[in-house]
Symmetry: C2
Subunit: 231 residues, 2 copies
DNA sequence: ACCTGAACACCGTTCAAGT
DNA sequence: ACCTGAACACCGTTCAAGT
C-alpha cells in the first residue's frame, strides 16, 4: 500500500473542486467533499485556501483558464480581423467551453466580486471593439449589452443552468398547466412545434436563440457606430 | 400579555421571507430565521410549506405579485398601443420593482424550475408582441433575446446583485489592480470618467445601460419583423 | 510546515410527542 | 389540527494538538 501522498496545492484543490462540480453539481462543492476527493480532511484545505469563498473564486479561475485556452487556440489557428466576426466567434467558443460545465452560469452569478481572470477576458473583448473602431463610450455600452453572453451564456429563464437535480415530473406538470393557463405561450409552442416537427420539450434550440440575440446586439452596435456615437 | 397568536398561513410565511430577504439578504432566508420572524419554531413552517424549495418558490411568487401589480397599475393609468413602447415601459416598471428587492436576480437564477407566476408574466409579454404583429416565431426569439431583461434586470457582471455583504476594500483593491493589468478597461474608465466628471465607482449608470441594451433588442426585433420573418 | 480531531455554531429535515 | 423538543446528518470554521 504505497499511498504516495502527493502534497496538496492550490491547483490540486481547484482541480478537485472542478471534478466535484462536474460530477455532482455546484451544491456538492463543500469543503468536506472536495477534501474527500483529495483523500484528506476538510481542515487541510485551509492551508491552501482562505475559506470557501476563496475556493469558489479558484473554481471560477480554473474555468476561465479553460475558456481562455479554447479561445486562444481558435484565434491562433485563424485570426479574424473583423471585430464583429471576431467577437461572435469568441463568444460562441466560450459558450462551447461553458457547456462542458453546466454549473458555470450559477457560479458566476453567485459571485459577489469578479476575479481578475474575468476582468482579463473582458479587457480583451473591449480591446477588440476599440481596435475595430468603436469609441470607448460605445464599446462600454457594448460590454454591458453583451453581459454574460460574452462568457457564452444567456439568462435562460425557462431552461435553467442545470447541474443540480432537475425533476422531469414537475417539468411535465408545468407544461400541462401551461397549455391551459397561458394561451399565448401555448399557441406559440403549437406553432413552433408544427414548423419544427420536433418533440415538445426539445423545441427550444438555445444555440440558435443565442446566436440570434448575439447578432441582434452586434448589428445594433455596428449601426450605432456607423451613424453617430450613441447618446 | 395577550399574545394574540395570529395563525400561520402560507401568505404570512412568504411575507416573512420577503422581510428577511429585504433586511439581511437571501442567504439569511433560512427555515429557522423565517420562523423566528413569525415568533414560531422552524418546524412549524413545515405545516404550510413542503420544504425550503417551496419556501423559495413562494418568495418568488410574492415578488412576481408585486411586479404584476406595479405593471398593471401603470398600464391601467395609460394604455400604450405600440408594442415596442408598451414592452419598454413594462420592463422598466418591472425593473423599478426589482430594484426594491436586490436579492431578486439571484433568487430567480438559482431557481431550477420557474413558478407559474413567471409563466403568466411572460405569456403577457408574448401576447403584446403577437398583438403587435410579430409572428410567433419571431416573438419566440424575442422572449429568448430579452431573457431576464423582461423581468427588469440584466446579467450585470461587474455590479453584482448585492443584498449580501459587499466588501468595499476588496472592490477598491480590484480597481487598483485593474488599472495596471487591464489596459483597455483602464483607458475606458479614464475616458468615461473624463466625459462624465463623476466619481470613479459611480461611473456605470446601469439604468442608462439597461435602456440602451433594451432599445438595441427592440429595434432589432422590429427591423427583423419589417423585413422578412427571421431565419 | 503541513495535517488532524474535537468542538462550535449553524443548516434542513424527521419523528414522536404534546395541546 | 397545529405546534414543538429532541435528534440526525449535514454545513463552514477555529483551535489546540499532533507529526
Amino acid at each position: 500500500m504505497s499511498r504516495t501522498r502527493t502534497p496538496l496545492s492550490r491547483e490540486r484543490v481547484f482541480a478537485a473542486a472542478v471534478a466535484v462540480a462536474d460530477a455532482d453539481g455546484l451544491a456538492h462543492v463543500t469543503m468536506r467533499r472536495v477534501a474527500g476527493e483529495l483523500g484528506v480532511e476538510a481542515m487541510s484545505l485551509y492551508h491552501h485556501v482562505a475559506n470557501k469563498e476563496a475556493l469558489l473564486d479558484g473554481l471560477l479561475e480554473a474555468l476561465m483558464a479553460e475558456v481562455d485556452e479554447s479561445v486562444a487556440a481558435v484565434e491562433r489557428r485563424s485570426p479574424e480581423p473583423d471585430w464583429r466576426r471576431a467577437l461572435r466567434r469568441r463568444f460562441l467558443t466560450a459558450r462551447s467551453a461553458m457547456l462542458r460545465h453546466p454549473w458555470a452560469p450559477q457560479l458566476i452569478t453567485s459571485r459577489t466580486s469578479v476575479p481578475a481572470s474575468v476582468y482579463g477576458y473582458y479587457d480583451r473583448v473591449l480591446g477588440t471593439m476599440v481596435d475595430g473602431g468603436l469609441s470607448y463610450h460605445l464599446a462600454h455600452r457594448g460590454l454591458h449589452a453583451f453581459g454574460s453572453m460574452a462568457l457564452g451564456f444567456a439568462q435562460e429563464l425557462f431552461a435553467p443552468p442545470g447541474g443540480e437535480d432537475v425533476d422531469p415530473a414537475a417539468e411535465e406538470e408545468e407544461m400541462a398547466a401551461m397549455a391551459g393557463a397561458f394561451p399565448h405561450l401555448a399557441a406559440m409552442v403549437a406553432s413552433e412545434v408544427h414548423d419544427a416537427g420536433d418533440e415538445v420539450l426539445g423545441w427550444c434550440d438555445s444555440q440558435t436563440e443565442f446566436e440570434f440575440t448575439l447578432d441582434l446586439l452586434l448589428d445594433g452596435l455596428e449601426r450605432a457606430s456607423r451613424s453617430r456615437d450613441a447618446r
